[in-house]
């Protein structure tokens, strides 16, 4: 096996103990991956809370009466499409193709904004109908779980804007490439959390 082939596949005849340290890109990616997993554990606690409290409606409205499946389906599609455009943006940044990176990342931003807007309208209509977070334990758990996900998406959008500004000022250097890469991981992880949200909260509503 040639050295180039070994570098590409990561498979090597050299024993583990004799190999050099991992490149910064690998270490940064792994560290961010650990952060994402711990973030998912935060969501696990919120899912557990929701699962325990979902029946405690205090004679208020239940999930089936409140949720509109069509609305949730569109939200899901927005987030899924933004995950894919984010992937295309990452691929464009690998090629150091600035125009394609800006285009796909702008698409990601717009789709994420669409998602947040739809979630905002849903929350606002629920609060206006008297089903705010203070009404019952079920609604407190709902707003905490779905709201935390929405908060993550908002932070992701702010991060994306900062990344695009950094790309404009600093250009494609390794530091920026790593940050784009971590952003893509973050964005895909949020989409995975959303699968849990729409399955357990919206489709599993009783």
């Amino acid at each position: 096996m040639s050295a180039a082939e070994q570098a590409l596949t990561g498979v090597s005849d050299i024993p583990l103990a004799l190999r050099g340290p991992a490149p910064v890109r690998v270490v940064a990616g792994f560290g961010f991956w650990l952060f994402l997993l711990s973030d998912i554990i935060i969501f696990a606690t919120l899912f557990a809370t929701y699962a325990v409290l979902s029946g405690a409606t205090a004679d208020g409205p239940s999930g089936v009466e409140l949720f509109d499946k069509r609305h949730v389906f569109l939200e899901t599609l927005c987030l899924l499409a933004s995950s894919v455009t984010c992937g295309f943006g990452l691929l464009a940044s690998y090629r150091a193709d600035a125009r394609a990176t800006y285009f796909w990342m702008a698409m990601t931003f717009l789709l994420g904004l669409c998602f947040l807007r739809m979630e905002g309208t849903e929350f606002a209509s629920m609060v206006a109908a008297g089903a705010g977070p203070s009404h019952s334990a079920f609604l407190s758990a709902f707003f905490t779980l779905v709201g935390t996900h929405g908060l993550h998406v908002s932070v992701g959008l702010i991060w994306l804007v900062i990344m695009l500004l950094q790309l404009a000022t600093l250009g494609f250097r390794p530091l920026i490439a790593r940050r784009f890469f971590c952003f893509a991981l973050f964005w895909h992880a949020l989409d995975i959390v959303w699968i849990g949200v729409f399955t357990i909260v919206y489709l599993g509503a009783k």
Partner: protein, 122 residues
Amino acid sequence: MQVQPEGQAPGVDPQEQHGARSYLIGLGYAVALTLASFWAATTSFVYAPAVPVLLAVLAIAQMGVHVAFFLHISTAPDQTNNFLALLFGVFVTALVIFGSMIIMANLNHMMVPMDQLMHMQR
């Protein structure tokens, strides 16, 4: 001796680093599974008590699709660290969710009924 880099970052797919194919395949699977989930939740075609199980299976399948095609986490030898971290994350997540549900259901079951409790307080 030449020094070799060890391991691969999560999210990097060495074979398809310059291709959008993996994302498009993932999108196809994810859309199909999402449609199946929403169909399963609204149809009367599936035996009603089996619907939650079907939804859980579809959701886990879709999470798997996202991990494989978007995050590019695999069991390849250069991804051992990433995969082990993922396994530990899944383990803790399952422990937190199912542990809480079992404990709370048990507490609920053991609790003295409310009317009896009022009687005891008197």
